[in-house]
């Protein structure tokens, strides 16, 4: 599961060693603890569960509250703030990332449930040398944004749209990008950027 191993402190090493065993046990142990705990104490669940998230090829061992979404884990725990929080209810697409190569909404994915899957964010699509992904370059060339807030989600969704084979025409792009809202209404330029990036991605 863990591809690249970040440097480990003794403490995280000890957590890590037991991760696969602990997850279900902690969850069940917390259940009984919580029943006994007074309502103002969230410590039993906050102390949380262990999850190893693989993001852009790097493993991250986290102790998380079960409520943590992939979006919050990325932004608040791992420090990857490129993925944006818009509506936080799966309606706007700002939080779009790829899980195992498919575009999904990180705000509606529990971090615990993402364990064992490969997450790719906007920080992980440029080449190692720093050359932008053709879709990133196309968004710049065609001015596919104004405020830019939901652009990372647009770009992640657009890359998947091309890979799925759903970028065959303007109409198809509009349909298959409908899960990404742009409050600045940069839609025509976004469509132009995707049309331009498509042949470059395919070559």
């Amino acid at each position: 599961m863990a591809k690249a191993k970040p440097p480990l402190s003794r403490r995280s090493f000890m957590r890590a060693g037991a991760t696969s065993l602990i997850a279900p046990l902690v969850a069940r142990g917390a259940a009984s603890a919580q029943e006994a705990a007074p309502p103002d104490s969230e410590e039993s669940t906050r102390a949380g569960i262990q999850a190893v998230l693989s993001v852009n090829g790097q493993s991250h061992r986290l102790t998380i509250d079960p409520r943590t979404t992939v979006l919050d884990a990325l932004r608040e725990r791992i420090g990857l703030t490129g993925t944006k929080k818009g509506c936080d209810h799966g309606q706007c697409g700002a939080c779009t990332v790829h899980v195992d190569g498919k575009r999904v909404l990180s705000c509606l994915t529990l971090a615990a449930a993402a364990e064992g899957h490969e997450i790719t964010t906007i920080e992980g699509i440029a080449s190692p040398s720093g050359e932008l992904h053709p879709m990133q370059q196309a968004f710049i060339d065609h001015d596919g944004f104004q405020c830019g807030y939901r652009t990372p989600g647009q770009i992640m969704s657009a890359i998947a749209c091309v890979k799925e084979g759903h970028a065959g025409s303007e109409a198809m792009i509009r349909e298959y990008m409908s899960g990404n809202l742009c409050r600045c209404a940069a839609y025509p330029n976004i469509v132009a950027a995707i049309l331009a990036a498509k042949p470059k991605m395919e070559s």
Partner: protein
């Protein structure tokens, strides 16, 4: 979101009403953030790989409960043999949600009634049995006109379930008491006095397979009318499947969405069509019968006429399909 415990251990499944299954999460997580759902224990069933298969057999197509909307919609055999299924899925939600949401979860999605989704409204019989219905005298443009009473006027929001009941599909479930098969037309309870009890599933009972019996349904489609062109729930929809011989209707299946309390099979309208030629007069008659019991509210009376026209257009388009 209220605290909960997370488990992947299927041995933790119990009949406790505070337990929820986590599949795609697109409904559950949303409602947990709204605190409409406050489970104590969430059981993540996503590691159950045997529920991810699509088996196309001689007598039936069997979809594992965890097959995603996108996987089923993009399956070439499904779209060729059952356009009604592929369309009902492809016209729903967004590409991201279709990659996440599962077929079983789709069947069980909850209403979009804003009074149900917003816990600051005290009255909602679906959330709090006996508290009343805020929508009855509130803003009720998106609400249902079929199958309602004064306890609840919420609309069943899905699309796929209409395709499923039109095709006489069923679900195979695993419950604490054992396995059983339930026709999807009986999965969602008719509205009586407990709108909070939406389905006949028992606590701890999980859908494992969705089974569509084989029949020639190449002449079928799902027509969805929305307030915007994409990524929107139906304001009216019709799932129709026709079996025509020499211009006459041998069999017709009709299910209506966006207008009813639960996935709505219009059997009386089917009876009108059977054995007759399919012309505009006949489709008009079927539509009148389908909406004869409509119960419009202050802001949604338009759905009666829109629903009829949606059905008429769906029937004519299905008749004219080249199969």
């Amino acid at each position: 979101m209220q605290p909960f415990n997370y488990s992947r251990d299927l041995n933790d499944i119990s009949t406790d009403r505070g337990m929820r299954f986590l599949a795609g999460g697109t409904t559950l997580l949303d409602l947990m953030k709204l605190e409409v759902e406050t489970p104590k224990l969430v059981i993540d069933i996503n590691r159950n790989e045997k529920l991810r298969r699509i088996d196309i057999g001689d007598d039936a197509v069997r979809f594992g409960a965890l097959v995603t909307m996108a996987e089923a919609a993009d399956h070439p055999e499904i779209s060729r043999r059952y356009p009604i299924i592929a369309q009902s899925l492809a016209l729903a939600a967004s590409a991201q949600i279709r990659n996440m949401a599962t077929l079983a979860g789709n069947l069980l999605q909850r209403t979009r009634c804003m009074y149900f989704r917003d816990i600051s409204y005290e009255a909602c019989n679906k959330r709090k049995p006996g508290s009343g219905c805020s929508a009855l005298h509130g803003v009720n443009r998106i609400h249902a006109v079929l199958g309602t009473n004064d306890n609840c006027i919420a609309t069943y929001p899905g699309d796929f379930a209409q395709a499923m009941i039109a095709l006489d599909a069923s679900v195979e479930t695993q419950g604490v008491e054992g396995r059983r098969e339930i026709p999807i037309s009986e999965l969602h309870r008719p509205l009586a006095d407990r709108p909070d009890l939406e389905t006949v599933l028992e606590p701890g009972e999980m859908i494992e397979v969705i089974k569509v019996p084989h029949a020639d349904f190449r002449r079928s489609l799902y027509l969805k009318i929305r307030d915007r062109a994409s990524y929107e729930f139906a304001i009216a929809s019709a799932a129709v499947a026709l079996d025509l011989t020499e211009g006459s209707v041998r069999d017709a299946r009709i299910a209506l969405g966006g207008v009813a309390y639960r996935p709505w099979r219009a059997r009386d309208a089917e009876d009108v069509l059977r054995g007759k030629p399919l012309n505009e007069d006949q489709t008009q008659r079927a539509a009148e019968v389908a909406f004869a019991a409509a119960r419009p509210q202050r802001h949604n009376a338009f759905k009666v006429e829109l629903g009829k026209q949606t059905l008429i257009r769906a029937l004519i388009e299905a008749r004219d399909m080249e199969v």
